[in-house]
């Protein structure tokens, strides 16, 4: 096979490699080898995503026909700037989460389950990449289900530590299924009036459809389904429990990449598929997405302030952060969408790092991490706590961190749009987020350690992924050129595709 063939099949590789490696991981008896398999699969994904990025950066929009069946009959993969950026972010974070999982997962679940866990892990990753690549509305549903079912397994694995993981997994299964069903119902409506499932094809046909109300209904169902998957307030209720009772490594993976894919699909539906009927999408953006985003920002932040359990606190904070992303996308200007994509990348880094650090503390203390049990951790585990601090400062948007760049561009996009009220709300919520984050920092360093914390020591095995993420948070705060440029290109390609 020549190198060109490899290149030509890049979009498929990103999806197929993790999916194919998944059964292999399940069959490997040694947990260690299964981990190496998962690492290999995610490593290949990172390389494939990087190559895709370099191709789209040169202005090429990749289209790929699965099995050489041309659309609208066959399934098509399309990779443009928006796809490759999201794929890059997700692949990189998934790889780091896998690296982190090596020690973390093995010590949190039964040894006999480790191989199967990595099988589900690879399935989840492959399914999520599939969501990004596919240009077929129904095929998207298939990938949605693959990733969701695999995630349910991963969350349920937390039951070894805390039985509540089972309820969390069940809730995720049911609510996620509702979301997916909504989506597929919407696809059904649209298919009924257009007779097509290919996104580009749909984008062309939808403006010509006579029965306008069906378009509204179909669009409404598709968007509602994706809002559930993206955990936008008030359909976020599956997320806090799922993130907080899953094993640490799973929380890291899901927090970093799972909702990002759903947000990407949301943007695709709104700007690509329905780009030709702005009167339909504007209604949803103005009256649904933007108000819900703002409500989610406040609800998530306030819930986080009152939460004592750290993983749950971070999960609530995710609701708020998802709100910032969908707010940027919701204002639907180039600058706004770019701000949303910038925060997709930055939030993945921030939350990935925070969950890793909390996972490290959990491994060291052996008990659920709450605000009280973090007392004195700053002295006992300075390396982990410092990484937590860096990611935390990035979360609240301190200058010189990645989070600041996100905030800068979001506020700028809002000011450009003359949304002074929303600017005020965003900044007020951002100031509120200091409250919960700083509470942890204060407890870690200022409050004296509890007696049983005396025995605790660092977990150097987790340093590499944790610090790669922490340093990236600073690096992208100093030199944001690449991410900002890529996000602006992503926004342009999303808006351009809709005409």
């Amino acid at each position: 096979m020549s190198i060109y063939a490899l290149f030509n099949n890049l979009p498929a590789l990103l999806v197929v490699v993790p999916l194919l490696l998944s059964p292999i991981a399940a069959l490997i008896p040694s947990g260690r080898l299964a981990w190496v398999t998962a690492l290999l699969g995610n490593g290949i994904s990172v390389i494939a995503a990087m190559l895709l990025c370099s191709v789209t950066a040169s202005g090429i929009r990749i289209t790929y026909f699965l099995g050489n069946w041309p659309p609208p009959w066959g399934i098509e993969f399309v990779v443009d700037d928006a796809t490759s950026l999201t794929a890059m972010v997700m692949a990189a974070l998934a790889f780091l989460a896998t690296l982190f999982a090596g020690r973390a997962l093995a010590s949190e679940i039964a040894a006999k389950d480790v191989g199967k866990a990595y099988a589900a892990w690879l399935l989840a990753c492959g399914g999520l990449y599939g969501l990004l690549m596919t240009a077929d509305a129904f095929n998207l549903f298939v990938f949605l289900e693959i990733s969701a079912l695999a995630s349910v397994i991963l969350i349920a694995l937390g039951a070894g530590q805390d039985r509540r993981a089972l309820i969390a997994a069940y809730n995720y299964l049911v609510i996620g299924a509702v979301g997916a069903t909504f989506y597929v119902i919407g696809v059904g409506f649209i298919y009924a009036v257009t007779g097509s499932l290919n996104m580009a094809d749909l984008a062309q046909r939808i403006p010509d459809v006579e029965a306008g109300s069906i378009i509204y209904v179909g669009f409404g169902f598709m968007v509602a389904g994706m809002l559930v998957k993206a955990a936008v307030f008030p359909v976020h209720i599956w997320l806090p429990a799922a993130y907080s009772y899953a094993p640490s490594a799973v929380s890291t993976l899901l927090a970093a990449i799972a909702t990002k894919a759903a947000i990407y699909v949301l943007a695709r539906i709104i700007f690509t598929v329905f780009g030709g009927v702005p009167e339909v999408t504007a209604l949803a953006l103005e009256w649904v997405v933007v108000p819900l985003s703002i409500a989610g920002i406040f609800v998530g932040t306030i819930m986080a302030i009152y939460e004592r359990d750290i993983k749950k606190m971070l999960a609530f904070s995710s609701i708020a952060q998802i709100g910032y992303i969908t707010l940027g996308i919701g204002i639907a200007t180039g600058a706004g969408i770019a701000a949303g994509f910038i925060h997709i990348g930055n939030h993945a880094l921030i939350k990935g790092g925070l969950f890793m650090a909390v996972g490290g503390i959990f491994l060291a203390t052996g008990a659920r991490v709450s605000v009280d049990s973090m007392a004195g951790i700053g002295r006992k585990m300075p390396v982990t706590a410092t990484a937590f601090l860096i990611c935390g400062l990035s979360l609240i948007g301190l200058p010189l961190t990645a989070g600041f760049i996100s905030k800068l561009y979001l506020v700028r996009a809002l000011l450009d749009n003359q949304n002074l009220l929303i600017v005020g709300l965003v900044l007020a919520s951002s100031a509120l987020s200091v409250v919960y984050l700083w509470k942890i920092v204060e407890v870690m360093w200022v409050r004296p350690a509890q007696v049983d914390v005396m025995e605790i020591s660092e977990r150097p095995a987790l340093y590499i992924p944790l610090w790669v993420v922490a340093i990236s948070n600073i690096w992208l705060g100093l030199d944001a050129g690449w991410l900002v440029g890529a996000a602006e290109a992503a926004a342009a390609s999303l808006l351009g595709a809709g005409g």
Binding site: I405, E442, L478, V484
Partner: protein, 490 residues
Amino acid sequence: MTQVITPLMSSETGILIGLLVPLLVGLVTPLLAVRSLWRDAAGPLGAVVTFVAALHVAGAVLAGETPRLVLLEFVEGLRFEFAVTPLGAVFGLVASGLWIAAGLFSVGYMRGNHEKHQTRFAAFYAVAVHAALAIAWSGNLLVLFVFYEILTFSTFPLVTHKESKAARDAGRLYMSILVGTSVVLLLPAVIYVWVKTGSLDFVPGGILAGHVAPEFVPWLLACFAFGTGKAALMPFHRWLPAAMVAPTPVSALLHAVAVVKAGVFTMLAVVVYVFGIDFLAESGGSDWLVWLASFTILASSFVAISKDDLKARLAYSTISQLSYIVLGAAIATSSAAQGSALHIVMHAAGKITLFFCAGAIYVRAHLTKISELDGQGREMPLVFIAFFLGALSIIGIPPLGGSWSKFYLMLGAMERDLVLVLAVLGLSSLLNIYYLLEPVQRAFFRPKTRQVEVTSQPLTVVPPVATATLSVLLFFFVDQINALAKLMAG
């Protein structure tokens, strides 16, 4: 003053050294933890090197240059750069120069008091100085904002140093006001300027004229004025008295000089280099700020009178004096702005002296209340003489430095026919006399009411004497600094 060292380094190197040395001191201090002598020497030595660099940079500015150091480009069009304006040169000199005295004092205080965690303290102290210098020399509003936040975060461990409940509560108030105002008000103001003008650079004469409608100017100015919580303009002043829970070296250098001056420096820089004095005066957008600053001056003076705790009284006095500088910016004439720039220097030298004295009294005699000071003047004559001189300078009596800045502020008020402001300044001086000289009067002219054991601690006495002397010298050798201030006011 700079000719001697000119051949040694370019002004760019000067900036680099001035910024790197404090940071390096902060990083090296933990490594020297076991050798307390070296650890404690690092601060003052670093301070001397930094001050020499700051002198050099200021010399270049006086010669008409704009020393510049571009580190990298954040995103397109926004550079991470340092560019020293005349005002920045002044603030840089103040922060680095007084760090020498404060560094020495800090060693004496922490050792004499047997404080815990001296290494952590010394490290964050140096990082805070680094942030203050970076603010002074920042090349645009974004860099200024960046280091404004870093200064807040790096001083948090210093404020909560005692780790008591009072310290934790104070730390919370400190963070919530400073971070809250900066994020909710200052940041959008900065981004608004960026959106409107496409630039965040500091340009003599300002960049906003023609980009912002005059009726919007008061609102934008309000975002800057309240957003820089470090300027302690009422009603966002409560963090400053709360921060007095920190060890006195922190109150002296940071909460009388570096942190609070970073706040008023930001205000002044925004008025002079972003709004432009002329544009602000024409639009009348700062008239409200004149009255708010006047109110803060008087109100906090009255609060100061009611405080018996020496550090609390000094804190309220600081709030009052900071508003002098805000007032000068708000009056928006060249003389008033010049007075503000001078007051940054004069008040710094005076107030750091007073805090040094308060710290020396605490370390040597363990007294914190003014009512306890009766008759202690004979026990600690040098300390109280230094206090006397520092107080006189803040009141503004010749031949002390503080008289210059008040002179220019009054001149500015006259130019705009603000008679009421003159009255405020006069009344404030009277109040200053009352509440700043009371401790001195009690110490020297009241009979001793309590016997305290006074220990000897020379490192806490030399710095206040030195800075008090500086306050006197600043009256006679004000030329160069005044030249810089004039250069700023244009």
